[in-house]
């Protein structure tokens, strides 16, 4: 059995020392992992240099911890930080209600939440439709413009409506007289320049023929006719 050479033993010890020495600070403050701490303890059993270093570092650590440092009073800083926290929390409360609504709807009462959202959507759609379908506002001055093809207001459900364009010399009395055989009445007009809508009871073609033959009636046509 051969004995290890002295230089080899020295080299091993040196390598071990170099590996352990950087760990001593954390051996002293007690934060080494158990396995590393065991290795350091084993090394210290024969390495006087490291034992001295551990003692020195321990003394230094204690001195640092016992050394009176500048004491900053914490109360003012604590009060300022608490105020800052309260301001932050106030802001968070202000903006958190939509989030809470969503959370409540999504978890605690999903059906109620869904119905609520649906109702809101329905109201919004109804409003949009109402705005789109509503008649346009009257022209300035309340005047409504009509063309000859615009349907006239109905006098009754059974009446036949005729639209007449009268000449300038045609009077209202003469018009009433011309309409008399058909129990007719003026239901709208004059619109524009001498346009009247009349409702008649009876045969429309006969009435139209008679009216067209009446002096002062430039045009006679059925509004809702065939």
């Amino acid at each position: 059995m051969s004995r290890p050479r002295l230089s080899s033993v020295k080299n091993d010890a040196s390598r071990e020392h170099e590996r352990i020495a950087p760990l001593l600070a954390w051996y002293v403050n007690g934060t080494l992992a158990p396995r590393e701490a065991e290795q350091v303890a084993a090394h210290l059993s024969w390495c006087e240099t490291c034992r001295d270093d551990v003692d020195a570092q321990d003394a230094l650590m204690r001195a640092m911890r016992e050394s009176p440092s500048v004491e900053l009073a914490p109360q003012a800083g604590l009060a300022a930080t608490m105020e800052r926290i309260e301001r932050r929390e106030a802001r968070r409360r202000l903006w958190s209600w939509p989030l809470r609504l969503l959370q409540a709807g999504g978890t605690a009462r999903p059906l109620v939440f869904a119905v609520g959202i649906q109702a809101v959507v329905i109201v919004m759609l109804t409003t949009v439709l109402w705005v789109k379908l509503a008649p346009p506002p009257a022209a300035p001055g309340g005047e409504t413009f009509r063309t000859l093809s615009t349907p006239a207001a109905a006098a009754s459900t059974d009446a036949i409506r005729l639209r007449l364009l009268l000449g300038d010399d045609m009077t209202l009395g003469a018009l009433r007289e011309a309409l008399a055989p058909w129990h007719s009445r003026i239901v709208a007009g004059p619109e524009g320049r001498g346009i009247y809508t009349v409702a008649i009871d009876g045969d429309a073609e006969t009435a139209l023929a008679a009216l067209r033959a009446t002096p002062g009636v430039n045009l006679a046509e059925r509004v809702d006719g065939p």
Binding site: T49, D55, L78
Partner: protein
């Protein structure tokens, strides 16, 4: 309220005002729920530790106070984001470290964190015990002040705060081997400046 000052079970013990890790986690859970009392307890427990840590490289008290308050306010705001992958103190000191770096950059009049330390003369020891104690403390402060800030930070976090090498690496976002190297150089410098704490000579 959770009492302050419990021991963590570490061989090196804990500095004054340190909460046990389990109590810290309970406090944080209450803070997540908006518990103001829990926050006050945590604030008071960390104020001294952070002020001591920050004093080494911020120096100006108003800046230290500002960084402490910003750090603990951030703890209130982000308490729910802490996942427990590290010690709570590692997380809080990491926030403080980053805010201190910003404060240093913002205030160009302050010494840069990466700046080298200044040379310090070793004083002649006094024979009076009281005077001797005072001298030792002063020489310790001078020696620490003379270290480059990155080395000083490692020394402070290891000896004073009691963090592990891995925690210091996490706080400073630096590789573990770099932390070991910084500690090695810091120790070399302190041996030179503090013969009282020299220990054995290196082989």
């Amino acid at each position: 309220l959770i009492p302050v000052g419990g021991m963590s079970g570490r061989a090196g013990g804990n500095p004054e005002g340190v909460l046990e890790a389990v109590n810290e986690r309970l406090l944080l859970e209450r803070i997540v729920d908006g518990d103001r009392d829990a926050f006050r307890t945590l604030y008071l427990a960390y104020h001294k530790r952070l002020s001591r840590f920050l004093l080494r490289f911020l120096r100006r008290h108003d800046l230290i106070e500002e960084v402490i308050n910003d750090t603990l306010y951030a703890v209130w705001c982000k308490a729910g984001e802490f996942r427990g992958e590290s010690q709570l103190s590692t997380w809080i000191f990491g926030i403080a470290y980053r805010k201190a770096l910003k404060a240093v950059r913002k205030d160009s009049r302050e010494p840069r964190l990466e700046a080298d330390g200044v040379d310090v003369a070793v004083p002649v020891p006094s024979q009076d015990p009281g005077e001797r104690q005072r001298e030792l403390r002063e020489s310790l402060d001078r020696a620490l002040a003379s270290l480059p800030a990155v080395q000083r930070t490692v020394i402070e976090l290891a000896y004073f705060v009691g963090h592990s090498c891995e925690e210091i690496a996490a706080i400073t976002t630096t590789p573990v081997n770099t932390i070991k190297t910084r500690m090695f150089h810091a120790r070399e410098r302190l041996r030179e400046l503090l013969p009282e704490w020299r220990g054995g000579d290196e082989r």
